[in-house]
């Protein structure tokens, strides 16, 4: 509810006809709780400007852990003022409260005036609902005439716990300063993060690139001091209109080379929508691993590092799924023998050994051809179709059976593979799928090429 609605005395639970009567020009939209949740989450990300630990709190709240952050805004009053100002700029209404316990701050914001909670006794006149108990408990409290938190405080805690359950006693203990369970922040705060904020938003790509390069330098200096290398980095660009663009990159090997990290981000910055400009940029190393100082003289290390740099650059531009390394799979079926994995991931060990002489290239989709053979089980004499020619030499057959234990192979037929050489010198790998005498006639396919 915003101030305008409040002035018209509109509120939840009101009948639509009454609301229309109070405000004839009211626009009506069905509630979209999921879209609201998404919007709230993006607002939470936007709030990381004040504290790295932010979480969504219920359907309409945000909670920030500002321990050790307030002094950056000139104390707690300054922080609250900054929050109010930033929300006003976005055109959103908010009520912020600051307390030493989340429960207390929440009660102060939802049931009280907001602002800094003066002391614990200030919550005494608040209704028991502020303790966030389940409906049944608060209803029975009310029936007994216990309407405010102050009423509960005056009663012996042990009796309350016996009568209304442990939850009530624990909530009261929290108000008196007991520990609360920790909350799970939306984004895990990182040890390594660099940030730059400006008074005036930057809306040019050149400006953002310069900033990004400086952030990379700052971050790498931190990483170097800690002996760490980054595996995953996130660049958060906070736009003036409240949208936070998050760019994530991964590196093939842990790195703290600012020029390299900057280059990885630069490709991603190219098509980025900057809106009315960016007012805050935060670069975080989300995942880091130990990376001891290296001596660049060691040639092996240089090769591995250069390879990682190359893989990162190719992956950043084309996508990790396009820069691949082969990983052997223990399978006799040719199509399954190789798994192509993103090159940034360390390939699983396996053996290529024991391969008979296989073709140099394998087609992704076997090419159906017609074949003429002398005897039903014999090698082809002639191929016809997309690949055609007389066969001058052939070797085979090599029978490869389907892997019957896989569901997708249940209906597959055994294949006889032949290596054939055509008149024009081309060498192909083709297979006859199925046997004569089965209801379906066999099918010939070309699977690969030896030249």
């Amino acid at each position: 509810m915003n101030a305008a609605a409040e002035a018209l005395r509109l509120g939840p639970g009101l009948l639509l006809t009454d609301a229309r009567a109070a405000c004839p020009t009211l626009l009506i939209r069905p509630a979209e709780p999921e879209a609201d949740a998404r919007a709230l989450e993006s607002l939470a990300l936007w709030c990381t400007r004040w504290s790295p630990k932010v979480a969504v709190d219920g359907p309409d709240g945000l909670v920030l852990d500002v321990l050790g952050c307030a002094h950056l805004w000139g104390g707690e009053e300054g922080l609250l003022a900054a929050v109010a100002e930033a929300f006003a700029k976005l055109g959103l209404e908010q009520r912020a409260a600051l307390g030493d316990r989340r429960l207390a701050a929440r009660a102060w914001a939802r049931f009280g005036p907001g602002g800094i909670l003066p002391d614990r006794r200030a919550l005494d006149p608040f209704p028991v609902e502020a303790l966030e108990l389940d409906g049944e408990t608060s209803a029975s409290l009310r029936r007994l005439g216990l309407r405010t938190i102050g009423d509960l405080r005056r009663l012996p805690r042990a009796a309350l716990a016996r009568r209304f359950g442990l939850a009530l006693a624990l909530r009261l203990a929290v108000l008196d300063g007991a520990e609360e369970p920790p909350f799970v922040p939306l984004v895990e705060p990182t040890r390594f993060s660099a940030r730059i904020a400006w008074a005036e938003p930057i809306a040019t790509h050149a400006g953002i690139e310069a900033v990004c390069s400086r952030l990379a330098r700052d971050l790498c200096r931190m990483l170097e001091r800690a002996g760490q290398g980054a595996r995953r980095l996130v660049l958060g660009l906070h736009r003036v209109d409240g949208v936070v663009a998050r760019l994530e990159i991964r590196t093939a090997r842990p790195s703290r080379d600012p020029a390299h990290l900057f280059r990885l981000f630069r490709h991603r910055l190219d098509g980025l929508e900057l809106g009315f400009g960016v007012e805050l940029a935060i670069l975080e190393a989300v995942e880091t691993v130990e990376l001891p100082a290296e001596q660049p003289e060691l040639t092996v290390a240089v090769d591995a590092r250069a390879a990682a740099v190359l893989i990162d650059r190719l992956s950043a531009r084309l996508g990790a799924e396009r820069v691949l390394r082969p990983e052997p799979v223990a399978s006799h079926v040719p199509e399954r023998r190789v798994r192509w994995c993103p090159a940034g991931v360390e390939p699983r060990a396996g053996s290529w050994a024991g391969s008979p002489l296989r073709p140099l290239r394998l087609l992704e989709r076997p090419l159906p051809v017609r074949a003429l053979a002398l005897v039903p089980d014999g090698p082809p004499l002639k191929l016809d179709g997309p690949i055609a020619g007389r066969v001058i030499a052939a070797s085979g057959p090599e029978r490869i059976l389907p892997e019957w234990w896989r569901a997708m192979d249940a209906a597959a037929r055994p294949r006889d593979f032949f290596r054939v050489r055509l008149e024009d010198g081309r060498e192909l790998w083709c297979a006859r799928e199925g046997l004569w005498g089965e209801p379906d006639p066999p099918v010939w396919r070309v699977l690969g090429s030896f030249s």
Binding site: L318, R421, G425, R426, G448
Partner: protein
């Protein structure tokens, strides 16, 4: 002896040329091919162009010889090429002594990205051999790839599918490779060196060893009466 001479020659070239020039021994392809080339082998770092129906086999034979240096074996192709000709297949490479763990496959969405990836890989010191499948490579692109290979020190192989054209190219040598029918399991190739910088064009027939990819001069084919055996006979022989 040859290697030392080549290194000395390269050093002299480096003294004459740009200071960034690397001194690397050329890629030796065996006595059947080396004499055709100035410097007794394929010069590197440089870009060479291979085309024709058996270009893949020849490219792998060159790569095998050039991977005597440490570094990645990068293979760039685009989606259309992957669909039409298939991907290089690690079991086939491993069976011929090429280590698949050095292979880095770049599947670019289109020809432009392939060219970009090839240039990027060539200019990196990490790549020993970079194969790029590009249907067209104009003079400007060839020049860029050549410069990139000089920066990175690797060998660039431009694998051109499709028919031969007379377009100019910046490649140091240009080959047209056709398979020849042969009677045994080793592959026979006709290598037509139709342009080479600092040398003369030539044609040679070679036999590629099917296990080692070594190139040897092909013995002249026996008289036409010795026809290749019929498949049925071959089958018995292959048993």
């Amino acid at each position: 002896m040859h290697d030392r001479l080549a290194v000395l020659r390269a050093r002299i070239r480096a003294l004459e040329g740009r200071p960034g020039d690397r001194v690397l021994p050329p890629v030796r392809l065996g006595p059947a091919v080396d004499p055709l080339l100035p410097g007794d082998g394929l010069c590197r770092p440089a870009l060479h162009e291979l085309a024709g129906p058996a270009a893949t086999l020849f490219a792998l034979a060159i790569a095998k010889a050039a991977l005597d240096r440490p570094g990645l074996f990068v293979w760039c192709l685009d989606e259309a090429g992957a669909h039409a000709r298939g991907l290089p297949w690690p079991p086939g490479l491993a069976a011929r002594g090429l280590d698949p763990s050095r292979l880095l496959l770049v599947r670019a969405p289109d020809a432009r990205a392939t060219a970009w990836a090839m240039e990027e890989a060539l200019s990196s010191p990490a790549a020993a051999v970079v194969v790029g499948e590009l249907a067209r490579a104009d003079l400007g692109l060839g020049r860029r790839l050549q410069l990139a290979s000089e920066r990175g020190g690797g060998l660039g192989l431009l694998l051109r599918p499709g028919p031969r054209d007379g377009e100019p190219s910046a490649a140091r040598s240009r080959w047209w490779v056709t398979p020849l029918p042969s009677t045994d399991r080793s592959s026979r190739l006709r290598l037509e060196l139709w342009r080479v910088k600092g040398g003369a064009e030539a044609v040679v027939e070679v036999v590629v060893d099917e296990r080692t990819l070594a190139l040897a001069a092909a013995p002249p084919l026996a008289d036409p009466a010795a026809r290749p055996p019929r498949p049925a006979d071959r089958l018995a022989a292959a048993g």
